[in-house]
Subunit: 339 residues, 2 copies
DNA sequence: CGTGATATTGTTACCGCTAACAGCCCAATT
DNA sequence: AATTGGGCTGTTAGCGGTAACAATATCACG
């Protein structure tokens, strides 16, 4: 033991490791990054010293010097609705092998908050950004466009992307569901969804849905909105409200699976004949539905694949902008009459 | 050859803003950070120039120079089980006002992965770290202990914290639930839970549970484990398996609410008398339960409050280590007989 | 044994920003 | 008028690494 206690309060730097191992800082840096040739014995010496000291490199300094940051910003509206965790899984999965690391920011569907999250993230000079949605404030779009890094807008492709986009057409998804419902013979259709004015994708689905209804000469017979609270419970309550107000309704289209699940449980508890007397459908294809007594009709939003593809674009940083459209599949489940 | 037009792709620096506004870089820095005195007209000029250029400060350089990083690392095992998003909410809520910003890392319950996530985070020199659980590899503990920043281990307090801890006693929680079940007159009790060997908190709950059973002269009449897949569905399946194998079981204790909910739906579908013929209980107090046809007995894990308190500790960085124990409340719901 | 090629290690100059301190200007004070 | 003390702005010297290049050691070969 040379130094009894080399000031434990002093933060370790490359210099400490370099002194401990008797080589230059540069060589230590090379060993720790596995870059450039270093002789085997030197490498060992350095690694040993670093391990013994418990040295953790300072990426702040490293990033500044190398002008390279292995971070990818991911901006999403919420973590609590089961949809984004799966997107994250896809992203992490692909980034894993690239040395890139995702950093998540949550906006709670607030444009102002989104703007500040983006600003904050860009100030760390990430290698790329993945952002949910195509709708952003002018300032947000400007910042992203100027950042000089690949930007991927995910989930949605109905609009003008800043750079790249990966997602599905929610308008088309809504239309498809409506067509399937009409084809199954339902005519008195109601919509139940969130109140959130900034959930543009839910809004687009509804637009597509109504568009298809109109084409068939139909209009929604009722609609019910909610905000906040337990989605499952809200689903029950909203369903009760609609059934009460519009007793002859024969189909309930929910803007997401969670409230759809609540509605399904309610209908079953009421002893309603599903899908004979009344049909139901949600949106997202969440795993949760597998455990329900009856499988809710839904449309898978390709979340995993969206995450994967977005990450792949960031990793490859292609010159040309690209828009990847994915096509959700309708899962009829047990809550739509089979024709 | 000089540049005729100042390359618009050239990354902006303080210097660009300083030139555009005719003051020194230092003054620009002061304006943008709101630090030190700057005259009103100068401030305006600078802000105007910064806005016009679309300048985003480089925190990497700033952090290196000031030796200050406004990041707080949060290391959690998973995002998909509804429990951590709520902890995150509590953390964000408190950090909001402090200028600190959470950065999340996910370990998937893998110790190796936890180690590398911690290493990665520490290399950004955060102002503090919040980590789920008290069980970590020796290397992880060493890194954290040496980092010279406040460390808060959350969720659990049954063990030796590295620095600070905020959580509940899972052992005690298990014990309490067992006592309530026994008091309600149930005697043939089965456990249904996850297989994950690294979910130490679930393990501790089970230990406490069995301990209390033993004290009453009882042992589990059956147990069933699962891993992966849709928790709700697994809950159904496991419940079916147990009821089949051990027909006279009169209570099912689930390691989390999600499988408990699946079990509850199954029991109701089978027409079993709940809680008369058979009782059920879960753990966590997830919002989801509010929407179920009958309310599952559970124990709230104080997740929001844990997040808040942990963040508060980081923000205040107290000298002395502190351990905050929270006390979960038992919510009997409708699935335990009332004595 | 000299020579160029190759392998390994060191030196220097920043990266973009901020702490600390230095300077300047001008009103107020003596 | 000289002095003083704020208020405001500029200068200098890093922060802890890394790119690029320089230097030295080593080695094969004619």
């Amino acid at each position: 033991m040379t130094k009894p206690t080399p000031d434990p309060r002093h933060a370790l730097t490359l210099r400490d490791v370099s002194e401990a191992s008797g080589v230059s800082e540069m060589t230590v840096s090379r060993v720790l990054r596995n870059r450039g040739d270093v002789s085997a014995p030197t490498r060992e010496k350095v690694l040993e010293a670093a391990r013994a000291l418990g040295y953790v490199p300072n990426k702040i300094a490293g990033a500044l010097a190398s002008q390279r940051v292995n971070l990818v910003g991911v901006v999403i509206p919420s973590l609590s609705n089961m949809v984004f965790p799966e997107v994250m899984t896809g992203i992490s999965e692909v980034l894993e092998g690239t040395g890139l690391q995702p950093v998540v920011g949550v906006t709670n569907y607030l444009p102002d908050r989104e703007e500040s999250v983006i600003y904050e993230m860009l100030s760390w000079r990430p290698s790329g950004m993945i952002i949910a949605g195509l709708e952003h404030s002018a300032a947000s779009r400007a910042m992203l466009a100027r950042a000089g890094i690949p930007i991927v807008e995910i989930m949605d492709i109905d609009g003008e992307p800043i750079n790249h986009a990966v997602g599905i057409s929610h308008r088309r998804a809504g239309r498809q569901m409506a067509e399937a419902i009409i084809a199954a013979g339902y005519r008195k259709i109601a919509f139940l969804g969130t109140q959130m004015p900034n959930d543009f994708r839910a809004k687009k689905r509804l637009e597509g849905f109504e568009e298809a209804l109109a084409k068939a000469g139909l209009t929604l017979v009722d609609r019910e909105y909610y905000s906040g609270g337990s989605a499952l419970l809200k689903g029950r309550e909203m369903t009760a409200a609609v059934l009460n107000r519009t007793p002859d309704v024969d189909f309930l289209y929910y803007s997401n699976d969670m409230i759809g699940a609540g509605g399904l449980l309610y209908c079953l508890a009421q002893g309603l004949d599903v899908p004979g007397r009344i049909g139901l459908a949600g949106f997202n294809g969440v795993e949760l539905l597998d455990g329900l007594p009856r499988k809710l009709a839904t449309m898978d939003a390709c979340r995993l694949e969206i995450g994967r593809k977005a990450a792949r674009i960031i990793a490859e940083a292609p010159e040309a902008s690209q828009v990847e459209e994915l096509f959700p599949t309708l899962q009829p489940g047990d809550t739509i009459r089979q024709a």
